[in-house]
C-alpha cells in the first residue's frame, strides 16, 4: 500500500506521465473509453453548470432582509455579522446582542460565496467579479465599485472523481453547479 502511494505521489509530480501511465493501466483493465483514469463508473449522475448572462450576473439587489436558506461562510466586523447565502448573496446582521441578532438587509449577488469587510467597506465575489459595497449604513448597503474578472474561476465543478457537462463559455458565466441525473455520460470528467 505504501509503495503504491509512493508511486502515485511520484506520478503526481509529472502529470503527463501519470496520464500516460494510467491510460496504459486502465486499458489493461477495461476499455479506456468506458472507464476514466481512476476507475469511477458513470452512474447516471453528473454536474451541470449554472450559467448567468452578463445582465443577470450584474443584477445586484438590496432588500430589507431575507430568511436564511443555505448559509455558508461567515465574517464579523465590529457588531455586524455577514453571512453568505451560498451562491445567492450576503445577509447583514446586527449582532450587538448575540442573544438577539437582528437581520438588517440582504444583498442578492449571483455566484457569491465569499466576503470580507474593513471599515465601512464590504468586499464580495460575484462569480468572476469583485464587488465593493459601502456599508456605512448597513440597512442600505450601496454598490460602489465592480472590478470585472478579478477572480479567476475553474471551468470545472469543485469536486473530484465526478462527471460534468463541459463548460461552454458562450452560454455565460458559471455561478454554480448542480448535480443532476444525466441520460448519457457527459464528455467531461475530473
Amino acid at each position: 500500500m505504501v509503495s503504491y502511494m509512493k508511486l502515485i505521489l511520484n506520478m503526481m509530480k509529472t502529470l503527463p506521465h501519470l496520464l500516460l501511465t494510467l491510460l496504459i493501466l486502465s486499458s489493461c483493465m477495461t476499455s479506456p473509453d468506458e472507464t476514466p483514469v481512476n476507475g469511477e463508473l458513470f452512474q447516471g449522475l453528473g454536474y451541470k453548470p449554472i450559467y448567468a448572462t452578463g445582465a443577470e450576473l450584474k443584477n445586484v439587489n438590496i432588500t430589507t432582509s431575507e430568511a436564511l436558506r443555505s448559509p455558508g461562510k461567515i465574517y464579523i466586523l465590529d457588531r455586524y455579522l455577514f453571512v453568505n447565502e451560498m451562491g445567492k448573496g450576503v445577509h447583514i446582521i446586527d449582532n450587538s446582542d448575540p442573544k438577539n441578532p437582528k437581520n438588517l438587509s440582504f444583498i442578492s449577488i449571483l455566484g457569491n460565496y465569499d466576503i470580507a469587510a474593513k471599515g465601512t467597506w464590504l468586499y464580495a465575489d460575484n462569480a468572476t467579479d469583485l464587488l465593493v459595497f459601502d456599508i456605512s449604513n448597513p440597512v442600505e448597503p450601496k454598490l460602489s465599485k465592480r472590478i470585472a474578472n478579478a477572480i479567476p474561476m475553474h471551468n470545472y465543478p469543485p469536486f473530484q472523481n465526478v462527471y460534468f457537462e463541459c463548460v461552454d463559455n458562450k452560454k455565460g458565466t458559471i455561478v454554480g453547479w448542480e448535480k443532476v441525473t444525466m441520460a448519457a455520460k457527459p464528455n467531461c470528467f475530473r
Binding site: V2, M5, K6, I8, L9, M12, N38, A67, L68, R69, S70, P71, G72, K73, I74, Y75, I76, L77, D78, L81, F82, V83, I93, N95, P98, K99, N100, P101, N103, Y113, D114, I115, A116, A117, K118, G119, T120, W121, Y123, D125, L130, V132, D134, S144, K145, I147, A150, I151, P152, M153, H154, P158, F159, Q160, N161, V162
Partner: protein, 254 residues
C-alpha cells in the same frame, strides 16, 4: 499515510525567515488591524491591515485597500495548484490548496513570499493556527480527496514555517471549518455535528463534546463565543473554562 515535506529553500532564506519569525513573535498577538474583521477558516477572502487577499483557482490575488472604496491590484501569485482557503496569522499566510498547505511570509503584505509547502494526499483543507501549531482538517469522500477517503485532523508544527512537521493525525468524520482559541479547538463536522476538543496539550486534541445535532459548516471563535453556520441555520454559543456551553441564539433556516 506518507507525508512529504519540502526542504528548506536555502540558508539565506532560512536566515531571513528566522529574522522575520522572530519579529512576528515579538510584535503582537493581535493579528488583525482594529478596523478589519474576522472570517472563518473556510474563507477564500482575507484582510490584514490595508491588504485584501483573494485565493481562487490557482492564484493568490493581492489588492491594496488603503482606499477602501478602490482596491488596487498589487500582485498576483500563480501557485500552480487549486486553492481553497486562506488564513492569515501574525506575519504569515496559511493557504489550503488541493495538494497541501502553503505558508507565505507576509512581512511585505503586498508581496507575500512562499516559504514552504506541507504536502499530503489531495484534499480541500481549511487551516487555523495558534502559536506553534497549525490545525488542518482533511475531508475524505466525494468532495475533494482523490486517492484517499479517510477524513482527519492533522496537527502540524509550524514553529519553523520553512519546515512544517506533522506531529499527529487524528481521525475525523466529515470535517469542514474549524476554529481555535486558547486550549479549545472547534471542528465543524458537516452533517455529523460539531465538536469541541481540548488542546491543553497543543499536539493532542481530545474530544470533550460532540454536538451531534448541530450540523455545521463554518465557525468563528472570539471572546468565548462561537458563531456557527450549518444547514439548519446560524447558531451562537457562549462557552467557559468549565466547559459550560450555552446557546445564545439561533436564526433557523426557513
Amino acid at each position: 499515510m506518507k507525508n512529504k515535506f519540502t526542504k528548506p529553500a536555502g540558508a539565506a532564506l532560512l536566515a531571513t525567515l528566522f529574522f522575520f519569525w522572530g519579529c512576528a513573535e515579538n510584535s503582537s498577538k493581535s493579528e488583525m488591524s482594529p478596523q478589519s474583521g474576522l472570517g472563518g477558516s473556510m474563507a477564500r477572502f482575507a484582510i490584514t491591515g490595508n491588504t485584501l487577499y483573494l485565493v481562487s483557482k490557482e492564484t493568490l490575488e493581492v489588492y491594496d485597500i488603503t482606499d477602501g472604496a478602490n482596491p488596487v491590484k498589487a500582485t498576483s501569485k500563480n501557485m500552480g495548484m487549486g486553492i481553497e482557503t486562506i488564513f492569515p496569522y501574525q506575519n504569515h499566510l496559511f493557504i489550503g490548496a488541493n495538494d497541501g498547505m502553503y505558508i507565505y511570509n507576509n512581512q511585505s503584505p503586498q508581496n507575500p513570499a512562499l516559504l514552504s509547502k506541507y504536502t499530503h494526499i489531495q484534499s480541500c483543507d481549511p487551516v487555523v493556527v495558534q502559536e506553534k501549531y497549525a490545525y488542518v482538517t482533511l475531508r475524505g469522500g466525494v468532495a475533494c480527496r482523490n486517492w484517499f477517503s479517510q477524513s482527519s485532523l492533522d496537527i502540524i508544527d509550524v514553529s519553523n514555517p520553512s519546515n512544517p512537521v506533522i506531529v499527529r493525525s487524528q481521525p475525523m468524520l466529515s470535517p469542514y471549518g474549524l476554529g481555535v482559541s486558547g486550549n479549545r479547538l472547534f471542528v465543524c463536522e458537516g452533517d455529523n455535528g460539531f465538536k469541541i476538543l481540548d488542546i491543553s496539550d497543543p499536539t493532542l486534541a481530545i474530544e470533550k463534546f460532540h454536538l451531534k445535532d448541530l450540523t455545521s459548516y463554518d465557525v468563528i471563535v472570539r471572546n468565548n463565543r462561537l458563531i456557527v453556520t450549518g444547514n439548519k441555520g446560524l447558531y451562537q454559543y457562549q462557552y467557559d473554562d468549565q466547559d459550560q456551553v450555552e446557546l445564545l441564539s439561533k436564526i433557523p433556516v426557513l
